[in-house]
Symmetry: C3
Subunit: 139 residues, 3 copies
Amino acid sequence: MKIYTGSINIKTSGENDIVDITDETQRIIEESKVKDGLICLFIPGSTGSITTIEYEPGLKKDLPKALEKIAPRDIYYYHHETWHDDNGRSHVKASILGPSLTIPIRDSKLIHGTWQQIVFIEFDTKPRNRRIIAQIIGE
Amino acid sequence: MKIYTGSINIKTSGENDIVDITDETQRIIEESKVKDGLICLFIPGSTGSITTIEYEPGLKKDLPKALEKIAPRDIYYYHHETWHDDNGRSHVKASILGPSLTIPIRDSKLIHGTWQQIVFIEFDTKPRNRRIIAQIIGE
Amino acid sequence: MKIYTGSINIKTSGENDIVDITDETQRIIEESKVKDGLICLFIPGSTGSITTIEYEPGLKKDLPKALEKIAPRDIYYYHHETWHDDNGRSHVKASILGPSLTIPIRDSKLIHGTWQQIVFIEFDTKPRNRRIIAQIIGE
């Protein structure tokens, strides 16, 4: 049994950018030489999330539109009093979707559906460089 | 320390069916002979989610009703342009709730509250056969 | 490789109390003597959730306000028919945010952003004593 920690570095284009990290996740599994085990993807930061989606252009618009209902851009956020910034909605959405995703690995392959990709969602209001931590435990 | 991978096969009745998989999860823990460790439940597919709920008839109506506010059935989904299908709302809800749940095991028992069950939620618009992957790491 | 199970005991002040459990999580990592591995935080109970947030007074108001849109206090909940209680909205919010969070550990430190804290959110309608399970696998 061993532990392997890798990372995925991406540059996002700003608010609501959804980045497919499936291939990079699979690359880290290959680097680790782990055949069976768990991989935990985690974003250090409070304005982005990791989840899965069918990665196609339509849903890349539908999901942000739905989340806009929960945390609209044009309402008042108390967060802006604290820092005089503009990303209260980004924090709210990131806390709801969460910073972490754990997925089983079998026969050196990430388990996922044919139409299901692993994605990072940028909720912050400007482009960001993001470093996602990928930790594997297995054998 | 060992790794054990099992699966839970269910047939859902279609959109918003909530299936209690607590007993099946406990059965896989017993099969694995693991006393202490983590179990990760993962649905390969992008229109269903795994979470916990108090499994009683009222909440089985209340939760879908609340999610309908985020992704209503009668609005426009760009996803339908891509595939000419009808389940844009299913994808949106599944991405928000997530495909994965990790739970500690102690003394060969899944940890959960007395009024808390592990459930799969079908968001797709038709009945589906689902195979949930359950991977355990422990000793 | 070893497994260590600890717990975090907190007293919440009632509905929408958000409690920072980052330091307690770090304390359990130190107790465990694990240098690299995964920690899974899990709340047994169906009216509370674990996630991350920038822990500052503004967001402690913004997040509950946003969740009130999904599960408002003044609508009808079928759950109340079952038990004649008043916390249908608490259950709905807890199922959406989820009971579990898994985070990598490196060099005996919990990985998280500078402005990102680990929190328990109380959704129940009264103050509660909560015991969060923290299980670590690593070496």
